[in-house]
């Protein structure tokens, strides 16, 4: 059912022009009129947040900006491939911004500092798998037109369930 939500959300968002507003009224899809979809569009990426009325709409737009800039810092010039292949890291970063559906931290420097500290800790433990440096070869096999779709489905997935847990 989450997949369904993500897919429909994606189609809703995708057909919207860039020059129209970034809010979508909540329908039955996301749990009623108290909820809104707020999204931002970066090149081939959409970042969609689903929030209830206790959040400020413009504030959430800023938050998305913070999130994206944080991603950018953590991945050093983030691109969709980073997000596809490092979904777990994206989750960890998101968890520093939003926790259990509530905004945790909005200060980007603080977020980046915490992420880096955790990465250092992980490194000191030897990481998950020290070996494979095959990521480079991955790039060749990618079918470019498909990219946005994949990312969006993935990306949305982490947000929609998280934030709708507000209920």
């Amino acid at each position: 059912e989450i997949q369904q939500i993500v897919r429909e959300t994606f189609h809703l968002v995708l057909k919207r022009d860039d020059n129209i507003c970034n809010f979508l009224e909540g329908g039955s899809l996301i749990g009623g009129s108290d909820y809104k979809l707020i999204y931002r569009h970066y090149a081939t990426l959409y970042f969609v947040f689903c929030v209830d009325s206790s959040e400020s709409e413009l504030g959430i737009l800023d938050l998305i900006q913070v999130f994206v800039e944080t991603l950018d810092k953590c991945f050093e010039n983030v691109c969709e491939l980073d997000l596809i292949f490092h979904m777990d890291k994206v989750h960890y970063i998101l968890q520093e911004v939003v926790m259990g559906g509530m905004v945790l931290e909005t200060n980007m420097n603080e977020i980046v500092a915490q992420i880096e500290a955790q990465n250092r800790l992980e490194k000191s433990e030897g990481g998950l798998s020290a070996a494979p440096a095959r990521a480079v070869s991955a790039v060749k096999n990618i079918n470019l037109p498909e990219i946005p779709r994949n990312i969006n489905i993935g990306d949305l997935n982490i947000k929609v369930p998280n934030l709708s847990q507000f209920v």
Binding site: C21, S54, S56, D88, V103, Q118, S129, A131, R134
Partner: protein, 1152 residues
């Protein structure tokens, strides 16, 4: 060679990591499902391996697959395994997987309680952080209850990173376990003034979330927030606070007055649009709350509307949208100030953005008046034509209907216009709102009597053109309007111009392609129509025509009899028989019209939807009791009042059974009428069944309606609503001239004393009188209906449970369950039984309590009762807030550390036999007149560390602050100090203690060798400050680390246990203790609790137990119970540890 093999196996193990999986999926686009199922099989293999790294990798991949929509609930247990890994890398993966895949139905979730508790108290802030993050996603009522206290403690953690997470997660805990709100609230409030902005914003966030649901309980915080608002510079916090004020002001208008000034200042000064917008929003809320009291805020309104206009005119669509949103709020109370911006809003209707158009539509809803309704609707109609995409068009359609029908059609001056609008709407293609239009048609036709004639003519045209409607939009619901059209034409057939024509239209073969329920209505109304045609024909004595109509019926009805729809079929065959009977009578030249029309005598009144519910049950009436004995069916049927058919029955009876006594009939009729009059459930139909249908369609009900024919009633063909707009203007002009005259006329009519049912439109509204003098029939309600509207509230709202008064001092019963001390508290004050009192006090019964939990509670209750008997001290229930914690702690003090009982009774399967004395792992550390310290030691599997939790309790009347704990490190044991401090520095305690308050601080020690018990000397220094001044005080203590405190409870399976014993590299030792009277079960529980063992297997009075030290020593025990002695054989990888361990155990057992 060997190296190669190892390398190969490692390669295989890490054959696929997450990146490989993702890549693989992308390379297998065409057979993705197959590829993934292959991957899942691999993952299953990986999960079977012992290597935690492999497992973690597998779980990591599973998380990704879960995101793609695959079910991974089967791996829940493996996820927990990875969560309990000691390395942060793996732990993080485990928690991520859990947060994505666990939900309340996950049954293994209860196994995580202890793991999470351990992680929460971990010395590494990131372990704690990751546990908090994970918990926030899958917290259940059970977890919330068990962990609430641990999280509370973390709210005063030294690291702001932990503090802010702990604060934030409290909201989730409150939601799941509302009882925790009151005990936790003081600390939450404290965090509003935390020095760290992140923590502060988290606290604001939580309180705003809480207050949004139940604002009235948080009014007392308003001054605090006011201070924050004027001092804070963090826009996030400001926005939250301002939003909160928006929720509070409706409850406290005085607050609103205070707010206006700082808010307007902010509006003028801030450059952040988000803040500006929220300020405007809150000002609006304030104004709404004030609107009743003071009208003098027009300046503020002007300011808001002005700012909003700027927003709406902005090229940024987001601002435009929000501006419209806010505007609609103002509209509710100050419609005048918005109406002046009508131009702007109509302009927004042309916007390319659907969201904006929808918002603009909402605004229009509130802006219409009698004057502009037609104009606005006309505009909307043009949009309907232009609109692309059915959703938006449907939205427009519903909006048009909403706008027109709002508050009982208050704005409609010309119903003919409205009917033609509705008819025009039926030409929309592909709408899903056919039923809506149909409902409107029915409603208007029934309630606006003057319009019936016009409506009928329109509807018959519609029926005539049914093929247009039905064929173009077969599946899309617009054919629903035929339902309405058929009914209206049938019910008000006396207004039909050419009834026969309509009849034919309704009997066309094409009709059978319509949905069943519509056909059913067709069939029913064909008869009504037929009845009225018969009536007409017989009046002019045109028998041939009448027979022809009957023949038509007999010819055409069979097509309905063949319908697949049961309802249609049944009605059709019934009516067919009736018509055939009529035909026979007609053949004998018997006049039948009267009787056939009598079938449909009576007037339908609209009944309010809630009317039935509102009827109070009369006293003494038992609705469930049999009215008659169940068998006498026939009689009770007879009592059901069905006026329409009774009349018919009686008539028939007259014809066929002339022997029935006239008087008897009259008497029965009278009785029935009486009954009906007294029966509140009876929906009154037409008042006089004696009157005949054709000459009295509910005459008494209808005021004589003057149909003002200033507009030609018959518009040929399908009408265009535009014509009406023009006509209406002309009419209004004429009206103005005639006004005086007409007023006089009407007054005359009123003198005649006819009562009017509904709200007559008055001339006050901009002096526009309606075209038809309209009698809007209000919906009927039973006379003694209850006015309350309780039924609107949803009893299942999860937030209602959080509607808790926070200003009341804490009651004794309201404590967070502290797992380890729960029993000891209860022992001291037996009336304060945790469970029962909470149950009584809590306003809402707990939602879902698992059964076994209840059982456990019951056991506890039993125990408590048993304990209650001997100890007779009664406590005063009402205690001051301040006194309470002291009391709680004192109870702890009186417990010698040796008195013990099960900490986790469930886990060790104890509790079947006799009661256990309460126990606590906390023992007294030191005490003087100021302060008392109790402590407990917990080992953690990480880096040979132990955590010492010290509860500091202020016994004095002074405030204790600047507390510092310094410990003389030994070579073996060192206290972990913040970076950069020297060995001799103390560690500050992260809180202050007001009088009577206690709090818990945690300190971490690293230990080198754990085979021997250790003692450390230390000093607590602090400043005691009271009214007279401050004094520097200190308190010496000795920390005792027993060997047991280095053990951690680790479960072990019996086969692994057997392997361990067989391996032969364990040294052995044993002890024997005599004079033991305690039951074996309790004995085991004690060992488990105090020495951190877990039971591996138990056979009769013999049990094997296992534990592990923080440095990885295995300790195995075999405990045997004799008559009144116990022998313990131990095996351990370190002999010294074992013998010391057994010595400690001996001491414990000696007290049994």
């Amino acid at each position: 060679m060997a190296l190669k093999m190892v390398k190969g196996s490692i390669d295989r193990m890490f054959d696929k990591n997450l990146q490989d999986l993702v890549r693989g999926i992308r390379n297998h686009k065409e057979d993705e499902a197959k590829y993934i199922s292959q991957c899942i099989d691999e993952i299953k293999q990986e999960l079977k391996q012992d290597n935690i790294a492999v497992k973690a990798n597998a779980v990591c991949k599973l998380t990704y697959l879960q995101m793609l929509g695959y079910d991974i609930s089967w791996a829940a247990f493996n996820i927990i395994e990875v969560m309990s890994a000691s390395k942060f890398t793996f732990k993080r993966i485990g928690y991520l997987a859990a947060s994505q895949s666990f939900h309340e139905g996950t049954d293994v979730i209860m196994l995580t309680t202890n793991q999470i508790r351990k992680d929460l108290s971990s010395p590494s802030q990131y372990d704690t952080g990751v546990a908090l993050t994970g918990l926030s996603c899958f917290v259940t009522p059970d977890l919330a209850r068990d962990l609430a206290n641990d999280i509370m403690t973390l709210m005063s953690h030294t690291k702001p990173y932990i503090r802010k997470k702990a604060v934030l997660i409290m909201y989730k805990v409150f939601l799941k376990y509302p009882e925790s709100l009151r005990p936790a609230f003081p600390r939450l409030k404290e965090k509003l003034e935390d020095p760290d902005p992140g923590v502060q914003s988290a606290a604001v966030n939580v309180i705003c979330e809480l207050a949004r649901r139940n604002p009235k309980n948080y009014l007392s915080l308003a001054p605090l927030f006011f201070k924050l608002m004027t001092s804070s510079t963090n826009n996030w916090v400001l926005i939250k606070i301002i939003k909160l004020f928006g929720a509070l002001t409706p409850l406290e208008p005085r607050l609103g007055k205070k707010l206006i000034e700082p808010l307007t200042n902010l509006i003028h000064s801030t450059s952040a649009m988000s803040l500006l917008y929220e300020c405007v929003n809150t000002v609006i809320a304030v104004l709404i709350s004030l609107s009743s009291g003071m009208p003098n805020h027009s300046a503020s309104i002007q300011l808001c509307v002005q700012k909003l206009r700027i927003l709406i005119e902005d090229s940024d669509q987001n601002l435009k949208y929000l501006g419209l949103l806010a505007m609609s709020k103002i509209l509710k109370t100050h419609p005048k100030s918005v109406q002046s911006h009508k131009d702007l809003i109509l302009q927004c209707l042309d916007d390319k953005d659907e969201s904006i158009r929808l918002r603009a539509l909402d605004l229009l809803y509130g802006m219409v008046s009698k004057k502009n309704l037609m104009e606005i609707v006309k505009k909307l109609m043009t949009h309907v034509d232009k609109a692309e995409g059915t959703t938006y068009r449907d939205e427009l359609l519903t909006k048009i209907i909403d706008i027109c029908s709002q508050s009982n059609y208050q704005h409609i001056t010309n119903f003919e216009w409205y009917i033609s609008i509705l008819v025009e709407l039926t030409r929309l293609e592909g709408t899903r709102h056919g039923h809506l239009i149909a409902a409107q048609m029915l409603d208007v036709a029934i309630r606006v009597k003057a319009i019936r004639k016009f409506a009928v003519s329109q509807m018959s045209a519609l029926l005539d053109n049914a093929h247009l409607v039905a064929s173009s939009t077969q599946r899309n619901g617009i054919c629903e309007v035929l339902y309405a059209a058929a009914w209206i034409c049938g019910e008000f057939s006396e207004h039909l111009q050419e009834p026969q024509h309509t009849l034919e239209a309704m009997l066309r073969p094409k009709v059978t392609t319509l949905p069943g329920h519509i056909q059913a209505v067709y069939v029913q109304n064909v008869v009504k129509l037929y009845a009225s045609i018969l009536q007409q024909k017989e009046q002019v004595a045109d028998m041939e025509e009448a027979q022809a109509v009957t023949q038509l019926m007999v010819d055409r009805l069979p097509q309905f009899v063949q319908s697949a729809d049961l309802e249609v079929q049944e009605r059709a065959s019934c009516i067919l028989q009736l018509v055939k009977h009529v035909q026979k009578l007609q053949a004998k030249a018997v006049p039948v019209a009267e009787e056939v029309s009598a079938l449909f005598a009576g007037e339908l009144n609209p009944v309010a939807p809630k009317a039935q519910k509102k009827v109070p049950v009369p006293e003494g009436l038992d609705l469930d009791a049999w009215i008659n004995e169940p068998l006498s069916d026939s009689e009770s049927e007879d009592e059901k009042p069905k006026a329409m058919f009774h009349e018919e029955e009686q008539r028939q009876a007259k014809h066929r059974l002339p022997e029935v006594d006239e008087e008897e009939l009259a008497r029965r009729r009278e009785a029935r009428k009486q009954e009906q009059a007294n029966n509140p459930f009876y929906i009154k139909s037409s008042p006089s069944p004696q009157k005949r249908y054709q000459d009295a369609p509910g005459v008494e009900h209808i005021p004589v309606v003057q149909i003002d024919l200033s507009v030609p009633l018959k518009v040929p063909g399908l009408p265009l609503s535009d014509q009406y707009v023009r006509l209406e203007e002309e009419r209004r002009h004429r009206q103005r001239l005639e006004k005086d005259k007409r007023r006089k006329k009407r007054r005359d009519k009123e003198k005649k004393g006819k009562r009017r049912h509904g709200s007559l439109p008055t001339e006050s509204d901009e002096d526009i009188a309606p075209a038809q003098q309209v009698d809007i029939v209000t919906e009927e309600m039973p006379e003694n209906a209850l006015p309350s509207d309780e039924d609107d509230k949803d009893p299942n709202d999860p937030y209602r449970a959080l509607d808790i008064d926070l200003d009341k001092p804490l009651a004794d019963s309201e404590k967070l369950p502290v797992q380890k001390h729960r029993n000891s508290e209860n022992a001291k004050s037996p009336e304060k039984e945790d469970v029962p009192v909470v149950e009584k006090k809590s306003k809402k019964p707990k939602k879902k309590e698992k059964k076994h939990k209840e059982k456990e509670r019951e056991k506890e209750k039993k125990k408590e009762k048993e304990r209650k008997k001997p100890s007779k001290h009664k406590k005063k229930h009402k205690k001051e807030k301040e006194e309470r914690p002291k009391d709680k702690k004192r109870s702890r003090k009186k417990l010698p550390g040796s008195e013990e009982a099960p900490g986790e009774p469930m886990q060790n399967g104890a509790l079947e036999e006799g009661p256990l004395p309460p126990m606590s792992s906390y023992s007294l550390l030191a005490e003087n007149s100021y302060i008392k310290m109790t402590y407990g030691v917990q080992g953690s599997l990480q880096d040979s560390q132990v955590t010492v939790s010290i509860i500091l309790e202020n016994l004095s009347s002074s405030v204790l602050k600047s507390m510092e704990l310094s410990v003389l490190d030994s070579l073996n044991t060192r206290m972990a100090r913040p970076e950069g401090s020297s060995v001799h520095d103390g560690v500050p305690v992260p809180f202050q203690l007001p009088p009577g308050v206690s709090n818990e601080a945690q300190f971490v020690f690293t230990v080198q060798s754990i085979v021997m018990a250790q003692k450390l000397k230390g000093t607590l220094s602090f400043i005691a400050k009271d009214d007279e001044g401050a004094t520097q005080e200190k308190l010496d203590f000795k920390l005792h680390f027993s060997c047991s405190s280095y053990l951690t409870t680790t479960p072990c399976y019996s086969d692994a246990f057997a392997k361990l014993l067989e391996s032969g590299d364990l040294s052995m030792s044993s002890i024997r203790v005599d004079g033991i009277s305690m039951s074996f079960q309790n004995l085991l529980t004690k060992i488990c609790f105090h020495h951190h063992f877990s039971v591996v297997e138990r056979v009769d009075s013999c049990a094997s137990m296992y534990s592990r030290s923080i440095q990885g020593h295995h300790v195995c025990l075999l405990v045997k119970k004799g008559e009144n002695s116990v022998s313990v054989d131990g095996k351990c990888s370190d002999a010294t540890l074992l013998s010391n361990m057994l010595e400690e155990m001996k001491a414990t057992l000696a007290t049994c």
